[in-house]
């Protein structure tokens, strides 16, 4: 069928956008042209098939995953980018309470993959009382992995809080002050649980912390968190 006007009328009829005059025009052309009638029927069947295909069910946990990846308040930054400066007082207290609770809950085991730090320096820490000041945060939503990484100051030390949801275990590299630590096995069965590490105090406090998320040995996200505020 080469008549563009007839083509437009047939598609328009299928889409329900023809007015009375156009419907009459189409009817006249169809009456006079058997090929056009065949074309119209073929297109109607195709569109019926497309319309009737229906929708697939999304993963049952999709809403939870979406919501888990949202920052605590609407940020100005982009994806997997430092966000949320400054935070409200309410958020500061809420996160301080959460961070303290998580720290009290247990120690974190991780290993050094680069840098001079002794294993003893890298052992997980137990929180003591005091204020945890949020400094920066990044969010991740990529390849089925979602979560947040927050940087806090607790007294003179920096702390990194990781909350990762993933279908399988992911490793996280945390680099600050020339040292890199690898936290293994986040996500998976432990998905959503928060993990907090305290960076060892150094004479020259790091101004930023690089965080890299790996899944099956492949990098899927990276962020630089700024510790720009003074203690």
């Amino acid at each position: 069928m080469s008549d563009p006007r007839l083509t437009e009328l047939i598609h328009g009829e299928i889409d329900g956008v023809l007015d009375t005059a156009e419907r009459a025009e189409l009817a006249r052309q169809l009456l006079a042209d058997p090929a056009a009638r065949g074309e119209r029927e073929a297109l109607r069947r195709l569109c019926g098939l497309l319309d009737g295909a229906g929708q697939s069910d999304p993963p049952a946990d999709l809403p939870e995953r979406i919501l888990a990846a949202l920052p605590p308040q609407r940020p100005r930054g982009g994806l997997w980018a430092p966000v949320l400066q400054p935070w409200s007082t309410a958020h500061r207290w809420r996160y301080a309470a959460v961070a303290a609770g998580v720290l009290v809950a247990g120690a974190i085991v991780f290993t050094t993959v680069r840098g001079p730090g002794a294993l003893g320096d890298l052992a997980g820490t137990m929180a003591d009382s005091g204020t945890h000041t949020p400094l920066d945060e990044a969010v991740l939503a990529r390849e089925g992995v979602s979560g947040r990484v927050g940087l806090y100051r607790h007294r003179r030390a920096l702390q990194v809080k990781l909350q990762i949801m993933a279908p399988g275990p992911v490793d996280v590299l945390v680099t600050a002050g020339g040292q890199t630590r690898r936290i293994r096995g986040l996500g998976g069965h432990a998905g959503g649980a928060a993990t907090t590490i305290t960076l060892p105090e150094t004479p020259a406090a790091p101004t930023s912390v690089d965080v890299t998320v790996l899944m099956a040995g492949r990098e899927i996200g990276r962020a630089t968190l700024r510790a720009s505020g003074s203690p």
């Binding site: 083509t7 437009e8 598609h11 889409d15 956008v17 073929a42 297109l43 069947r45 195709l46 569109c47 019926g48 098939l49 497309l50 319309d51 009737g52 295909a53 229906g54 929708q55 697939s56 069910d57 999304p58 993963p59 999709l62 809403p63 995953r65 979406i66 919501l67 990846a69 949202l70 920052p71 308040q73 609407r74 940020p75 100005r76 930054g77 982009g78 994806l79 969010v139 939503a141 990529r142 390849e143 089925g144 979602s146």
Partner: protein
């Protein structure tokens, strides 16, 4: 779709009501996921794009113009994110042979699933811009005007792309047309 309700939820969200955004997620995660699925033909990628879509919507609610429908805005984000995901894909091997033989299955639901699979595969043979109009018109049931708003092209272009896409799909889906 209830535009007034969406507008109210967006306004509440912009005022700091996080729960309002949760309601928008519950309302739109299914169509957003399905739009991404039709664009990408991969459930994992569609899930990732859905997450990114809502995260970007949340981050950029301040940029949203309430004169337009919220669903037009979020579908546009979803399509853009799908296109980004497509452009970052590594080349994959062509599928060997068709999984669909064209014969109707014994169960109606199986027929529906077969047709969905065939449509999904046929859509992947279209260019992304032609695929987009089919997704918006036939999956999301949107008007030419909505499609024009989402794709940022004139209605005339929407119609032209839709006509072309349908003609191309006809030969791909001929066996299913006969049984539909």
């Amino acid at each position: 779709m209830n535009g007034d309700d969406d507008a109210t939820l967006v306004r509440r969200c912009r005022e700091g009501d996080r729960h309002a955004f949760e309601l928008l997620v519950l309302r739109y995660h299914r169509p957003v996921f399905n739009a991404a699925l039709r664009m990408l033909h991969d459930r994992d990628d569609a899930r990732d794009v859905s997450q990114t879509t809502f995260l970007k919507a949340y981050e950029h609610l301040g940029d949203y113009d309430p004169r337009y429908r919220f669903y037009s805005w979020i579908y546009r984000i979803a399509l853009n994110e799908s296109l980004n995901a497509l452009s970052s894909r590594r080349p994959v091997e062509a599928i060997n042979g068709r999984e669909i033989d064209g014969s109707p299955g014994p169960e109606r639901c199986a027929e529906g699933a077969q047709a969905r699979l065939a449509i999904g595969e046929a859509l992947m043979h279209l260019s992304p811009e032609l695929r987009s109009v089919i997704v918006l018109r036939h999956l999301m049931q949107l008007s030419y005007q909505d499609m024009s708003d989402i794709l940022l092209v004139p209605e005339k272009t929407v119609k032209s792309r839709l006509h072309t896409a349908r003609q191309l799909l006809r030969s791909e889906l001929l066996p299913y047309e006969a049984t539909s």
